[in-house]
Amino acid sequence: MRLRGIVSKGRVLAALMAGSVAASLLGPTAGAPLRKLARLVIAPPGEMGMYVSTAVAHHLQAAMRDTISQDKARRLQAENAYLRNATAAITDELARARRALAAIQHIRKHLYGRARDMPSEVIPSHVVAQDSLPYVDTRVVSAHGAGEGALVTTRELWTGRRVGLPKNLAVVTASALVGRITESDSYTARLQLLTDRSFGIGVQVHRVVQNPKKPRVITVLISGEERKERLSEYHANISARARGDGQQGMEIQGVHEYHNVRPGDVVLTRSDDAAIGAAIPVGRVIRVRPDRKEPAVFVTLHVRPYATLASLREVYIIVPPERPEPEGDGR
C-alpha cells in the first residue's frame, strides 16, 4: 500500500516526462542505446513486412512502367537506338581497356605479387525496416560489421561479379549507389538513402560526349584563361557535391554554367574517394536550371538516382579500402 502510494501514476508520468526532457536536451547519443534495442526488436519480424511492401512497390512500378504513352515509347525507341550505338562504341573501348588492363596486371603480378580484383570489401545485406516518420529517408538493414559512413550500393547490380566479370570491372561500373550507413551495431545498421535531405557526397559529373557531329562546346580554364573547346573524353568529368533533395532525387548546386552540363549526363562517385575507391554510378542529370542567386553564372542540376529506392530490398555495403585497425589485441 505504501509503495502504491509513493509510485502513483502521476509521479510515474512526471518522472517519464522529466526523462524525456533530459534525453531531448542531452541529444541523440542519450537515446542511442534505446534505438539500438528498438532495431533489434523490430528487425526480425519487420523483415517479412518489408519483403511484402518492397514486393508490392516493385509490382506497382512494373505496372506503371507498362502504361507509357506513344510519345514516350517513341522517345525510348530513339534512346534505345542511340544507346545501342553507344554500347557498341563502349564495348570496343572496353575491349581495348581489358587488353591494356590484362597487360598491366600481368606486369603487376610479376612485380608485386597477386593483384586484388576489387578495391573494397562488400557486405551483403537486406532492408528490414524503414523509418517510422517520413521526415528522414532512412532504412534499417541487417548487417554485421558495417562501420558508420560506409557507402551502400544496390545488390542486383553487383551480382555481375558472381558470373565472372573481368577483374576490376565490377567495382568500377557494375553498381549504383543507394546511400550511406549512419549508425551501426551488432546485427543491424541504419542506411541513410541518398535522397535524404542531409545526405551529401562528393561526386563527378561525367558529361556524355553524345554526337561527334554536333559537338558540345564547353569553356575550360587554362592558366586562368577561359577557352572554348569541344567536349571530349579527356575533360568530360567535373567535380561537384551532390545532396539529397528530400524527395525523389539529388541536387547539385553551384555548377558553373560554362561547364554546359545537360540532361543525360552521368553522376558518379569520385574514384579518389577513400570510402569507396572506385567510381560508382549515382544517377543521371534530368534537369538543369539556373541558380536562384546567380542565374547567369551557376546552374543547379537535378539528379535522378539509378537505384530504385522505393522497392529497395537487397544491398551491398562497401567497406572502405583503408579501414583503420582496431586498437588492442583484437579479441
Binding site: K9, G10, V12, L13, L16, M17, G19, S20, V21, A22, A23, S24, L25, L26, G27, P28, A30, G31, A32, L34, R35, A38, R39, V41, I42, P45, G46, M48, G49, M50, V52, S53, T54, V56, A57, A129, Q130, D131, S132, L133, P134, Y135, V136, D137, T138, E148, G149, R180, T182, E183, R190, Q192, D196, R197, S198, F199, G200, G246, Q247, Q248
Partner: protein, 185 residues
C-alpha cells in the same frame, strides 16, 4: 488502461509503421514522403475513451517513445529521443481536456481530433528538433517538414475512422474502465 495490451498493440503498430505502411506511402512532388501515422490514431482513441487524464498521457508518452526510437539517428540525421514522447503525452492530455465538448464516437470527431493531434504533435516534434539542432536534418527544410506534417495529419485523419472501428471492437481488452456514466458510486 490495460498496459500489457497497449504494449502489444504498440509493438504491432510500430512494426506495421516501419514496414507495411510503405505500401501506402506517397511521394508528393516538392514536399517529400507522406504516410499515415498509425500510432497517433491509438493515442487519440485512448485519450477520447480512457477514464483518467493520467492514463491518456501515459499511453501517449509510450506510443510517442515508440516513434522516437524508430526514427532516424546517427551522423547526418541526428534527432533526439524524447521530443515525440513529450509531444504525444501533452497532445493526449489536450485531447482529454477538450473531449467533453465533442461527441466521441462520431467519425467527424475522430477525423478532426486526429488532424489536430497530428499537426500539433508533429509540429512540436519538428520545431523541437529544429531548435535542438543536433544534426543536419534538424536545420534543413523546416518549412517543407511542416508541410509534410500537415499532409501526414490529413492522411492519418482520413484513415482514422477505419482504425478506430478496429479499436472499438477490441476496446474492452485495451481500456479497463472506459469513460462514461459509472455503474456504482
Amino acid at each position: 488502461m490495460r498496459w500489457i495490451a497497449l504494449a502489444i498493440l504498440t509493438y504491432v503498430l510500430t512494426l506495421l509503421q516501419t514496414s507495411l505502411v510503405d505500401v501506402i506511402t506517397f511521394r508528393v512532388p516538392g514536399v517529400g514522403l507522406v504516410r499515415p501515422e498509425l500510432l497517433a490514431v491509438v493515442v487519440v482513441y485512448s485519450a477520447l475513451h480512457v477514464g483518467s487524464i493520467l492514463d491518456a498521457m501515459l499511453a501517449g508518452w509510450a506510443l510517442g517513445l515508440a516513434l522516437d526510437v524508430t526514427t532516424g539517428a546517427g551522423s547526418g540525421v541526428s534527432t533526439a529521443v524524447g521530443p515525440m514522447s513529450l509531444a504525444y503525452a501533452l497532445g493526449a492530455g489536450g485531447i482529454y481536456k477538450i473531449r467533453g465538448a465533442v461527441f466521441r464516437d462520431k467519425v467527424v470527431t475522430q477525423c478532426t481530433m486526429t488532424l489536430v493531434f497530428c499537426i500539433s504533435a508533429h509540429g512540436m516534434w519538428i520545431l523541437m528538433q529544429w531548435r535542438l539542432a543536433f544534426g543536419d536534418t534538424a536545420g534543413t527544410g523546416i518549412v517543407l517538414m511542416l508541410v509534410q506534417a500537415v499532409l501526414l495529419a490529413a492522411y492519418t485523419a482520413a484513415i482514422a475512422p477505419a482504425l478506430a472501428l478496429g479499436l472499438k471492437a477490441g476496446r474492452r481488452w485495451l481500456i479497463a474502465s472506459p469513460a462514461g456514466p459509472r455503474r456504482r458510486r
